[in-house]
C-alpha cells in the first residue's frame, strides 16, 4: 500500500486546483481552452483508474486488426467491436454515447 493521498485522490486534488483556482483566472481564450483540455485529460485518467480493466488484450486486438485488414470479416465482428469501442468511450467520453439514441 501507499500513503494517502492515493493516485485517484491526487488526480482529484489537481482537478480541483485547475477548476477552482486556474480556470477562473484564465482571461486569454487560448489559455482557458487549454485548461479545459487539461481538466478533460485528468477526467479520463480518473475514470480509467476507477474502472476495473476488462479491456481486450493487445494481442487479441492485433490479431483481429490483421484478420480484418486481410478482408476476412466475420458475422459477429461489428457487434463485438461496438462493445469494445463503447467500453473505451465509457472512459474517454461517457457523454458521447448519449448522442446515439
Amino acid at each position: 500500500m501507499t500513503d494517502r493521498p492515493t493516485a485517484p485522490e491526487l488526480l482529484e486534488a489537481v482537478t480541483e486546483f485547475l477548476a477552482t483556482e486556474v480556470l477562473p483566472t484564465a482571461s486569454d481564450h487560448r489559455f482557458k481552452f487549454r485548461t479545459l483540455v487539461a481538466l478533460n485529460a485528468l477526467g479520463i485518467a480518473r475514470r480509467e483508474i476507477a474502472s476495473a480493466d476488462q479491456s481486450a488484450s493487445e494481442e487479441e486486438l492485433s490479431e483481429l486488426a490483421k484478420r480484418i485488414r486481410a478482408g476476412d470479416i466475420h458475422g459477429g465482428d461489428l457487434d463485438h467491436l461496438k462493445e469494445h469501442v463503447a467500453a473505451k468511450l465509457r472512459i474517454s467520453n461517457p457523454g458521447y454515447l448519449d448522442r446515439y439514441p
Binding site: V37, A38, I44, I68, A86, K88, Y96, Y100
Partner: protein, 313 residues
C-alpha cells in the same frame, strides 16, 4: 513587438508593416495577420510562413500551396487573393495573401447557419473540381485507404474498428471515376462564412488529385458538424439538396449511398489523423496536452463509423 522580418517584408511589398500578429493554431505553418501601409492606404494581409516544427509529410509546400491558390482564383473559386510568394522571409519559406473577414469557428457557424450555405457549398465545390489539373502537376494522387493503413501502422497500436472501416469502404468504393483537383480538407472550419453565406475557401495544403466524391462527403463526418448532429452536412444543412445541386451542375451521378461509404472512410481518416497527432506529443516532436488527448478522441470516430456501417446494412 513586430517580428524581426517586418522591415524586410515591408520593403519587399513596397510599404511599411504597421502591425504583425501571430494567430493561434498551425503546428507546421504559422499564420500572421499583417497590416501593411502603402501610400495612403493600409491593406490587411495574411502571411503564411513555415514553422520550426517538422512539416507533415502529406501536406503541400508553401510554394505549391501558393500556386494552388493562384489556380483556384483563376478558376473563379472564392479564395483570399494571393498576393505574392515570398521565398525566404526571415530564413523561412512564406507567402502573402489577402486577409478576409468572416467566421471560421465551427461551433459559432452551426449555431445559426446561413440558409444559403449548403447550395453555395455545392456550387463552390463544382468550381474547385473544375480547376485544370495540368496547371498543378505537383499535386499527389489520392490513395486514401493505402495511405491510412500506412499511417495506422506508424501509430503502432491495434485499431480493429478503424481497420473494419477501411476494409468495408475499400470493398465498396467506386473504381475508375476520373480524378479531379480536390481541396482535400473541404469542411466547415476551413470556409469563411458571413451572414450572406460562403465567403472564402481556406486551407489548401491538403490539395490533391482524387475522386470528387471524397471532397463531397468529407463535411458529412460527424466531427465536422460541431455538435449539430442532426444536420448531416457539416452541421449547417441537409445533404440531399447539396448533393443534388452538385450532380446537376457537373453531370456526375453520385448517389447518397456512395457518400455514406466515403463518410465511413472519412471517419476512419479523421480517427487515424487524431492518433497520429497524439503521437507528435508522445514522440516528443511537439509536447502539448491538446495533441495528447486526441489519442483518446479517436474512439469517437471509431464508434461513429461502426454505427454507420451497421445502419448501412
Amino acid at each position: 513587438m513586430k517580428p524581426s522580418w517586418a522591415a524586410e517584408l515591408g520593403e519587399r511589398l513596397g510599404g511599411e508593416v504597421e502591425r504583425a500578429v501571430l494567430l493561434p493554431g498551425g503546428a507546421s505553418k504559422e499564420a500572421w495577420a499583417v497590416d501593411l501601409r502603402a501610400g495612403e492606404g493600409t491593406s490587411a494581409l495574411l502571411v503564411r510562413r513555415a514553422a520550426g516544427g517538422v512539416i507533415h509529410a502529406d501536406t503541400l509546400s508553401l510554394d505549391h500551396e501558393f500556386r494552388v491558390l493562384e489556380a483556384a482564383q483563376a478558376a473563379g473559386v472564392s479564395v483570399p487573393r494571393p498576393v505574392t510568394y515570398l521565398g525566404e522571409l526571415g530564413g523561412r519559406e512564406a507567402f502573402a495573401m489577402e486577409r478576409v473577414d468572416g467566421e471560421t469557428i465551427g461551433r459559432r457557424i452551426v449555431r445559426d447557419p446561413p440558409a444559403a450555405l449548403p447550395l453555395q457549398m455545392a456550387e463552390e465545390l463544382v468550381r474547385i473540381h473544375a480547376i485544370p489539373p495540368e496547371t498543378l502537376p505537383f499535386l499527389p494522387e489520392a490513395n486514401t485507404v493505402a495511405r491510412m493503413r500506412e499511417e495506422l501502422d506508424s501509430v503502432n497500436e491495434p485499431h480493429p474498428a478503424i481497420e473494419l472501416g477501411l476494409t468495408w469502404a475499400d470493398e465498396r468504393l467506386p473504381r475508375g471515376r476520373e480524378h479531379v483537383v480536390c481541396h482535400g480538407d473541404w469542411r466547415i472550419g476551413n470556409l469563411v462564412v458571413t451572414e450572406a453565406g460562403l465567403g472564402h475557401v481556406l486551407d489548401w495544403e491538403f490539395a490533391r488529385l482524387g475522386d470528387p466524391a471524397e471532397d463531397l462527403a468529407w463535411p458529412l463526418v460527424r466531427a465536422w458538424r460541431f455538435g449539430a448532429d442532426d444536420r448531416r452536412l457539416g452541421g449547417v444543412g441537409e445533404v440531399e439538396p447539396y448533393l443534388e445541386r452538385y450532380n446537376e451542375l457537373t453531370g456526375r451521378e453520385i448517389a447518397l449511398e456512395e457518400l455514406a461509404v466515403w463518410e465511413v472512410l472519412g471517419n476512419a481518416k479523421w480517427a487515424v489523423g487524431a492518433l497520429t497527432q497524439s503521437r507528435r506529443h508522445l514522440n516528443g516532436l511537439e509536447r502539448s496536452v491538446e495533441l495528447a488527448v486526441l489519442g483518446r478522441i479517436a474512439a469517437e470516430m471509431e464508434y461513429e463509423l461502426l454505427d454507420l456501417i451497421e445502419r448501412a446494412a
